[in-house]
Structures are given as structure tokens and as C-alpha cells.
């Protein structure tokens, strides 16, 4: 049986070299599309595309809806409290679920008795999980025994505090909470290991005695999955879809004029989405309906269909509103499986939302890291060798690599890496907003700054030498201009509070999910709908879909009814890997174009004119050649022969084929950020005063929403750089700050002035040429702040979060 917590991000990982070539079309046409950056040598690119593709979309300046600051179509429901999230769902007869979770980091269940819980007034069912929940699974584990007759030997070994054991369903949350505590469990505790360094040592308590299944290295998307496992050590991973090791690293270091190197550590960060993971599951004989707080409705449906042996057609997953997802909300999850089991047992809908503590313990995190990075540099600035060794722990999960930035951000002929996963007795990691790259950039960008300093060069100018990416070059220039960048001597401020300036850059691969389909429906009354299972996790997907349809049909965004987040509609992509905008908007535009052509065909017939003489614009349908032929969109739809026009389309391959492998278009999502900080050298406090964030996401569909995403990435990066830290009690394995006050996050007073700079960059890749922005916005921030802190105090910090005690220790004050 598959593990319900797996299948988190459905992204292509292995490069398929055969997929480079463009798909062949029976009927194709050539279109000229905008290519490059307006104002910076914008040209056209001719692509051969399917005859079904709509005409090339001009640059944003020439459009009416796309590229314009457009209000979110669902904002009014959010500000009035009308929006219903999974946590808000109430169904007739609904029960409430509550888990019993492991209080021990490593234990065997000796006995388990549910009778007191089962008999508690108001309790309808108890279910015991007999499969391994979360993280990795041993090869032979995973049989789901009938719950009342479970075999104690089939119960999973407990490997972290918070591992789910059983759950109850009761008439109120209060009753469920009490009853869960009445499940009696006897544990045989075992030695455990929590720390990355200790878990690597010989003789450390072993987390998995047998080799674990590798069900996709989803925590660190794209780093090649390693298969070796010895003790708690898994790996190394020596490459990614961008390739393996290259050149001769020893020779490269021999050729270097100097070497910069360092040992860096990053902490475990938890996602802290405001709406916790959870579902309302409603098992009916003819249909399982699940309201899920998920980033992937279609993925949850697929998981539940597989786990409960149902056809996909009998599972419906709904995510109308979703209270935040940053990478960990994929798949059915142990809560989804449990709620479904409880609903099946009771014949009632069951709500099972995690509480805040459970969310911290069991629902994913960004793994920590210990990185040894070494870079050889010539006196002209060129890099001769990069050597990276990293260890990280995703607890009982996999995916603790540090990404692809050392491999790929800068030109360097010789590269080698060994990235290791280390198992510990802690909750499973999960994908978290640019997994790996966020950790990796903290070390890489500090060393690049060190090289610049050694060369006596301005860090911005130095990157112009070693970074050949044209868009990032522009981002550096524009960002530096907005920031008013001027190199300042490190630690040069007099007085105890010192100001510093720093910058860093990053990248994120442009992934595409081809399972991206949508339907556009034009109704006879002139109303228009767009439908897909794709979900809006707060990024603004609903709004950009409305914009794309409106642009194609000559309407306004608010004229379009967006029906998404429901698997009764065509499959949309999961929202992870920043794939959503780039994957679903071309499908939506193509569907809208098809529907439009059908409508125009019918109008042309009614008017007896040629179809290509007709145009739809500003809410009107008219003939370009005969000014007497003109009517409003609503009048035109009355000419329809049937009540509805329906058109469905799916995301085609990138125009010109994918650059690397199936679904991987490379190198588009560069980012450069500049930070200004104040460091109090007496207290150790760091305050971020200002961030300028220069980004590109292909064609920006709604600049206002892009700004919001950039703000969000920067703020999350500030939390990572300065505050957030999962702290485990080394004596018990319990997280001591599993809440939202002691797990410190950025609040209003920690928010600097943030100035987003958006570079409009056309690549002629699809009918919308859009890309995502969620992850790139989060990559460089901690690196930029670290470089700014160094600039302020003249001492480098090698460990996150850069807390006051670490600042004071670095200054030698404490």
C-alpha cells in the first residue's frame, strides 16, 4: 500500500533526454511571439506550434486585462468572512476526530486498549492506524488491518513524538479530545537520536533498520535520489536533473589563485500555514467526498482512490478556499486517511483538522542542514572549482538536500557534490517553498561575497563577471538602482548600532505540470465560467484564470465565474514547485480561445460574414469590415444555437519543446534581493529595515498579486534568517515551541519596507508565457540578510537563525 504522506510534489525529477525535442503536430503553424524584456532589446521568436494554438499574445502594454493590476475575484468573500475553508465546513450529522499520538520519539507499542475511549459518551468510532504514517516506510510494512481486530505486531514502530497511533470520532471536538486520551497504550521505549551530528555517528540508535522505500525525493525536488543507506545515513546524491559532477575539482582547486570556504548550518523551519492540515471526509455508498486543505485536489483524490480501492470517479475532493500552503499540503495525509476510515465506520461525515501542536510535529518542515562548501577563484574573479558536502535531517523523512544552487547558479567548469540525508527520530520533513535552494543559498551567497571582498570588488559588479544569466544581470542593475546600492566598508559605522547593506541572488527552475486542463463554458445569457480542479492556495490563481479568460473574450475579470478546487472539473496541477501559473493558464487561454471561435462561428453564420472578420473586445462582438454588424457580448451569446458552448484544453508542451526534460524548462526564474539591516552590537538584535526584491516570472499576469507573492517570500525569508527555529528537547524528543508564540515568526513590527521590482520577461514558451513566482521570491532573502549583517558588523554568521545570542557570540561579546 502506498504511503498517504508521500507523493507530495508531482514533478518530473529524472531528465528524459528524448523529451527535449518538440512534439510533432499533424497540422502546425508558425507564430511570432514576443521574446526578451521590453525596453531591453525585446525581439520576436518564431515558433512552430499546433494549429489549435491561439494567436500570439502581445506584450502586456497592449492588453486590456492581463498584466493589469486586477483585484482578486474572491477578495470580497475573504474580507467579509463568507469564504468557507475546509476548517469551516459543517455537514449534517458531522462528527469530530482527534488523534492519539506518540509521546515517545522511539517506542514499540506493547499493548493498546481502546474500550474506554469507545465507550465514552458521544464517541462513535475509534480507529487504529496500522500503516506507517508519514515520512519513509520500511519495505515490507504497510498493511491496513481492520481496526477493531488489529494485531499488535502489525502496529507501526513509533519513530517520532507526534506520530499518529489512533483516532476517535465523536459528537463534539471537546468529547473527541477527551476520548482520545482514554486510549490506553503501553509503550516499550527505545533509545533515540535527534541531532544531525550524533545520528551520523557509529553506534547511534538506528531509525530504520531496513532500507526505506524511496517514494520520490519530494522534500528536495530535483536532487537525484540516492539509494545507498548505511546506519542513519542515506546517500550521497551527486547530481540533479541539471547533470552530475563535472570536470576535475582537484585540478580546479590547483588552478585557483585563492579558495573561499566555510561550514554553514541551517535550522529546521516549520510551515505554519494558518489553516492546519485536515479534511472533512464524507463516505457515502456511491461517493466519497472530501473537503481538504490541500495544494493538490487531484492528488488527494488519487491517493484516496488508491488507498481505499475506489475508482477515481467515486472520489471527489473539494478545496474551495484554502488557508495557506507552502509545500507540505500534498497527498491525503494520515489525517485524510483516518477521517475517511472514521467516516466509513460511522456512516457520518468526519471533520479532522490538526491542532496547532500536531501541525508543528507531524505535518512537515524544512529540514536542517550542515554544509561544507569550498570554492576556488582566479584573480580575475572566475570560479575554478566548487565542492559541496552536505548533511541534513528530515527526521523520519527524506529530502534534506541543499538544492541546486551551488551546482548551477554560477559558471564553473569543475563541480562536485555529496548531499546526504540523515534519519533522526523526529517528524518528517516535507517540501517547503523552494526546498533545498533556500538552505543552499545561505552558504553559496556568503562565500561569493567573500570572494568579492578578497578581490576588492563590489559584490554586484563581481556577480556580473561570474553570472551569465541575462535576466539576473538586469535584475541586479534595476534592483541596485532602486536600492541606491553603494558599497560600504564592513563594520565601518561608529557607535553600537551598525547599518549594513547586502545582496544575494538565487534561482528556481521553471517546472511545468502537463496534467493541467480546464473547461470554459459560455452560457446563452452571456455568463462565462472557467472550471478546473486546480486550487487557489492564496496565490491568486482564481484571479489570473479570470483575467486570461476575460482577455480572450473581451470581457473584464469580474465577468468571469471561476469554479476551481473541485475534482469534478478537469484535472489541474498541484500547486507546488511554482508550477501553477505556467501550467494552467495556457490551458485556460486555449480553452477560452476554442470557446470564442465556436461562438464567433455561430455569430458569423447568423450575420452571414466571414468568421475572421469578427472581433471580440470591450464587451462587444463586431465586424472589422462592416460597422453595422456590432452587438454586446450578451446579445451575441443569444445567437447561440444551444444553451452552452463548452471547450476544454490541456497544457501543451512548451513551444519549441522543453529545454531539459519533460516538464522542465530551465533557468527562467532568477531573483536578486538587496537588504538593509541594523545590528545592535550590544544586544545582538538584527532589524531588517528595507528589502528590494527584483524578480521575473515570465509574463506577469497580475502585477499586484506578483508583488504580494514577492512580499510573502521576503517575509518568510526574514523569519528563516532571524527567528524561526524548531527546538526539540533532547531528553524527551518533544518540540518545546510547538505553538505560534514561542515558535517566533515575523509579525507586523518585523516587517521592513519591501520594494518589489518586476522584470517582464518573455520567453515564447506558451500561449500565456507566464511562470510562477512563489518559490523564487523566498530563495535569496536569508543570503542577502546574512551579507548585510556582515557588512554591518564585519563578522560573518555561519548559522541560522541569526539570533541575538549568535550575533553576540560572533562578536565575542557573550
Amino acid at each position: 500500500m502506498a504511503n498517504p504522506n508521500k507523493k507530495k510534489i508531482v514533478l518530473p525529477v529524472a531528465p528524459d533526454t528524448k523529451a527535449h525535442a518538440p512534439v510533432k503536430h499533424l497540422y502546425s503553424k508558425k507564430v511570432k511571439l514576443p521574446y526578451g524584456v521590453p525596453g531591453h532589446g525585446l525581439t520576436e521568436m518564431e515558433r512552430e506550434v499546433s494549429i489549435d494554438e491561439p494567436p500570439a499574445l502581445p506584450i502586456n502594454d497592449e492588453l486590456n486585462v492581463i498584466g493589469k493590476r486586477t483585484r482578486r475575484v474572491d477578495a470580497v468573500y475573504k474580507v467579509t468572512g463568507a469564504a468557507k475553508y475546509s476548517a469551516d465546513i459543517q455537514l449534517p450529522g458531522m462528527l469530530f476526530g482527534k488523534f492519539l499520538r506518540s509521546p515517545h520519539p522511539h517506542a514499540r507499542i506493547k499493548s493498546l486498549n481502546v474500550s474506554a475511549a469507545r465507550q465514552y459518551p458521544g464517541v462513535h468510532a475509534v480507529h487504529v492506524l496500522s500503516m506507517e504514517p508519514g515520512g519513509s516506510v520500511e519495505r515490507e510494512s504497510g498493511h491496513d488491518a481492520p481496526a477493531e481486530t488489529y494485531n499488535i505486531d502489525q502496529l507501526p514502530l513509533l519513530r517520532y513524538v507526534g506520530q499518529p497511533i489512533a483516532a476517535v470520532a465523536a459528537e463534539s471536538q471537546y468529547i473527541a479530545n477527551e476520548a482520545a486520551k482514554l486510549i490506553k497504550v503501553e509503550y516499550e521505549t527505545k533509545p533515540f537520536v535527534l541531532e544531525l551530528d550524533k545520528a551520523r555517528r557509529k553506534g547511534a540508535p538506528i531509525v530504520f533498520e531496513k532500507k526505506v522505500k524511496d517514494e520520490g525525493n519530494e522534500g528536495d525536488v530535483g536532487v537525484e535520489a540516492a539509494d545507498e543507506q548505511e546506519g542513519n545515513l542515506r546517500g550521497p546524491s551527486t547530481g540533479s536533473f541539471l547533470g552530475g559532477p563535472r570536470g576535475d575539482v582537484e585540478k580546479g582547486f590547483a588552478e585557483a589563485d585563492f579558495v573561499v570556504e566555510g561550514e554553514f548550518r541551517t535550522q529546521v523551519q516549520t510551515h505554519c500555514a494558518l489553516e492546519t492540515h485536515g479534511v472533512v471526509a464524507d463516505w457515502k455508498p456511491d461517493m466519497l467526498t472530501v473537503y481538504a486543505s490541500t495544494q493538490n485536489t487531484a492528488g488527494v483524490r488519487d491517493d484516496l482512490a488508491e488507498l481505499f480501492d475506489l475508482p477515481k470517479s467515486k472520489v471527489r475532493v473539494i478545496t474551495e478556499y484554502m488557508g495557506g500552503g507552502f509545500g507540505a499540503k500534498f497527498g491525503a495525509g494520515h489525517f485524510g486517511v483516518m477521517a475517511t476510515e472514521l467516516s466509513r465506520k460511522t456512516g457520518r461525515p468526519v471533520k479532522l483538522m490538526l491542532d496547532r501542536e500536531e501541525e508543528h510535529l507531524s505535518a512537515g518542515n524544512r529540514p536542517n542542514s550542515h554544509q561544507m562548501l569550498k570554492i576556488g577563484v582566479k584573480n580575475d574573479g572566475k570560479l575554478t572549482a566548487i565542492d559541496l558536502t552536505s548533511y541534513g535531517t528530515a527526521g523520519v523523512g527524506l529530502g534534506a538536500g541543499v538544492g541546486r544552487v551551488a551546482q548551477d547558479l554560477y559558471e564553473c567548469p569543475n563541480f562536485r557534490q555529496a548531499q546526504y540525508d540523515v534519519f533522526t527520530h523526529a517528524g518528517p520533513g516535507a517540501a517547503f517553498r523552494a526546498p533545498g535552494n533556500v538552505q543552499g543559498i545561505f552558504s553559496l551567497e556568503q562565500l561569493i561575497d567573500q570572494a568579492a571582498e578578497r578581490l576588492g570588488m563590489d559584490p554586484v559588479k563581481y556577480r556580473d563577471i561570474i553570472d551569465k544569466h541575462e535576466v539576473r544581470k538586469l535584475q541586479r542593475a534595476k534592483g541596485a538602482e532602486v536600492f541606491g546600492w553603494k558599497y560600504k566598508k564592513p563594520g565601518s559605522d561608529p557607535g553600537p548600532i551598525k547599518r549594513g547593506f547586502g545582496m544575494a541572488q538565487g534561482h528556481w527552475t521553471r517546472f511545468i505540470n502537463l496534467n493541467s486542463s480546464a473547461t470554459v463554458r459560455i452560457n446563452k445569457d452571456g455568463s462565462v465560467e472557467v472550471m478546473s480542479s486546480v486550487q487557489d492556495i492564496g496565490t491568486g490563481t482564481k484571479t489570473i484564470l479570470a483575467q486570461v479568460v476575460a482577455e480572450e473574450l473581451g470581457l473584464m475579470a469580474e465577468d468571469i465565474t471561476v469554479k476551481i478546487g473541485d475534482t469534478i472539473y478537469p484535472d489541474g496541477p498541484g500547486s507546488g514547485g511554482s508550477v501553477t501559473a505556467g501550467s494552467i493558464t495556457p490551458a485556460v487561454r486555449n480553452a477560452a480561445y476554442k470557446a470564442k471561435m465556436e461562438l464567433l462561428g455561430q455569430v458569423a453564420g447568423a450575420w452571414d460574414v466571414e468568421i475572421d472578420s469578427l472581433e471580440v473586445k470591450n464587451g462587444e462582438v463586431y465586424s472589422k469590415t462592416d460597422s453595422s454588424k456590432k452587438m454586446s457580448f450578451g446579445e451575441a451569446t443569444k445567437k447561440m444555437r444551444t444553451n452552452q458552448i463548452l471547450a476544454t484544453a490541456s497544457r501543451p508542451d512548451d513551444y519549441g519543446g522543453f529545454e531539459i526534460g519533460n516538464g522542465i524548462g530551465y533557468g527562467r526564474l532568477g531573483s536578486v534581493q538587496f537588504a538593509e539591516v541594523l545590528v545592535d552590537t550590544e544586544t545582538g538584535f538584527i532589524k531588517v529595515e528595507r528589502v528590494v526584491a527584483a524578480h521575473s516570472c515570465g509574463r506577469p499576469l497580475n502585477p499586484m498579486q506578483v508583488e504580494s507573492q514577492i512580499n510573502g517570500g521576503v517575509i518568510m525569508g526574514i523569519g528563516y534568517a532571524l527567528y524561526e527555529d524548531r527546538i526539540l528537547d533532547l531528553n524527551t524528543g518533544h518540540m518545546v515551541n510547538a505553538n505560534l508564540d514561542q515558535y517566533k515568526l515575523p509579525y507586523s513590527r518585523e516587517i521592513p519596507k519591501i520594494e518589489p521590482v518586476i522584470i517582464e520577461h518573455y520567453g515564447a514558451f506558451s500561449s500565456t508565457d507566464a511562470s510562477g513566482i512563489g518559490e523564487p521570491a523566498n530563495v535569496p532573502t536569508a543570503g542577502a540578510i546574512a551579507n548585510a549583517v556582515y557588512n554591518a558588523i564585519g563578522v560573518r554568521l555561519y548559522e541560522l537563525p541569526m539570533s541575538p545570542q549568535k550575533v553576540l557570540a560572533a562578536l565575542g561579546v557573550s
Binding site: 483585484r71 482578486r72 474572491d74 477578495a75 470580497v76 468573500y77 475573504k78 474580507v79 467579509t80 468572512g81 463568507a82 469564504a83 468557507k84 475553508y85 476548517a87 469551516d88 459543517q90 463534539s172 471536538q173 471537546y174 477527551e178 510551515h271 505554519c272 500555514a273 494558518l274 489553516e275 478556499y321 484554502m322 488557508g323 495557506g324 500552503g325 507552502f326 491542532d355 496547532r356 492556495i537 492564496g538 496565490t539 491568486g540 499586484m704 498579486q705 508583488e707 504580494s708 512580499n711 510573502g712 517570500g713 521576503v714 517575509i715 518568510m716 505553538n739 505560534l740 508564540d741 515568526l745 515575523p746 509579525y747 507586523s748 513590527r749 516587517i751 519596507k753 519591501i754
Partner: protein, 214 residues
Amino acid sequence: MKNDSKERSPEKMKQGVSRRAFLRGAGVTTAGTVALASGMLSFTAAEPAPAKTAVLGPGETEVKFMVNGQQRAVWIEPRTTLADALREHLNLTGTKVVCDRGSCSACTVWLDGKPVNSCMTLAVDVEGREVTTVEGLAKDGELHPVQEAFIEHDATMCGFCTPGMVMSCAGLLERNANPSLADVKTATSGNLCRCGTYPKVFEATLAAAKKMNK
């Protein structure tokens, strides 16, 4: 202060009453220090005690209060928080529960016109009082200027913090018509947003103030 916890059965006290009693006693609401200064203290110290102390629980008891201008009655266990009473009993799910311990202000409502954390307030303690939730902020189909500005300035992302943010920011404008950026930051200092809407929340609130003053 109503001294009802003493009169509860020992069984009930074990079931979380002590925590709630502590929370209520601590009275810390991050919805704004104003709420702490005037909201909680006024009802613990300044308010006259009910004429006859009622014995509540352990079973369900009726509590009547005004919600968004309407008299409502709910049958609840005495341990029920105001947030749960609103969400579970009155289906007013605009009010969100995120941390359930007063550290994120997602559950902010107005109690007698002042922002409080409804997860830190027992429903029995609002008997006879007036509660305004995010659903009740719009009047006669007209959005509150803060709601309008949130839409205009893209101050919502996933939207889960939004009701609390809106109530904190609208609450600020009720008591300070000309807030500075620092005032807005103070008013929202307890409101957690993980998506990062803060810059646009600040922008929207200042714009709403300007508009209201026109």
C-alpha cells in the same frame, strides 16, 4: 468577576476549565493592548457582578448575547469559547481559530466595540454583551472602508488571517481616525499572517483612514 468556576463540579474542572480560567484571568489578548487595558479589565473589575451568581454546567447552559446587532441564544457547555460558540453554534465561521491560545489574533471580534481574541473569551462571559464579527462589519450592504481597501490594495492572500486583520484594522480606525504607519503596526502586532500580506494591510488601512476622513 463571575466566580462560577468554583461552583463547577470537580470533573469539569479537570476537563480544561483550569486552563481556560487561567487564560481568562491572564486576559492577555494580542488583538491590541487597548483590549487588555479596557476590554478585559473593565469586565473583570469595573463591571457590576450579576445580581445572582448563576451555577453553570457541567451540562449545557443557555447564553444570550447580541451578535452583529441581533439577539442570539446558544446552548453550550460552560467551557465553550466565544470563538467556538460563534463558529460551531451560530455558523459564523468568518472568525478563524488558528493558534487557540491568543497568539495570532485570527479570532479577533469586537466585544462591546473593542477587539478581543474570541478564543481567549468564554462564551458564558459575554452574556448580555454585544459581539461584532467580521460578518457584521458591513452595514446595509455597504462594506466597511477597511474591507474595501483590503480588496483594492490586495491585502488578502489565502485569506485565513484576513477576518482578524480586518477587525483589528477597522477597530483601530474606530478609535483613531488618523493613524500613522506605526499605529497600524501596533494595532496588528498580534495578527499573524504567514502569506505575508502585512505591507498591503498597512497600505490598505492607511488608505481607508484617508478615505474615511474625506
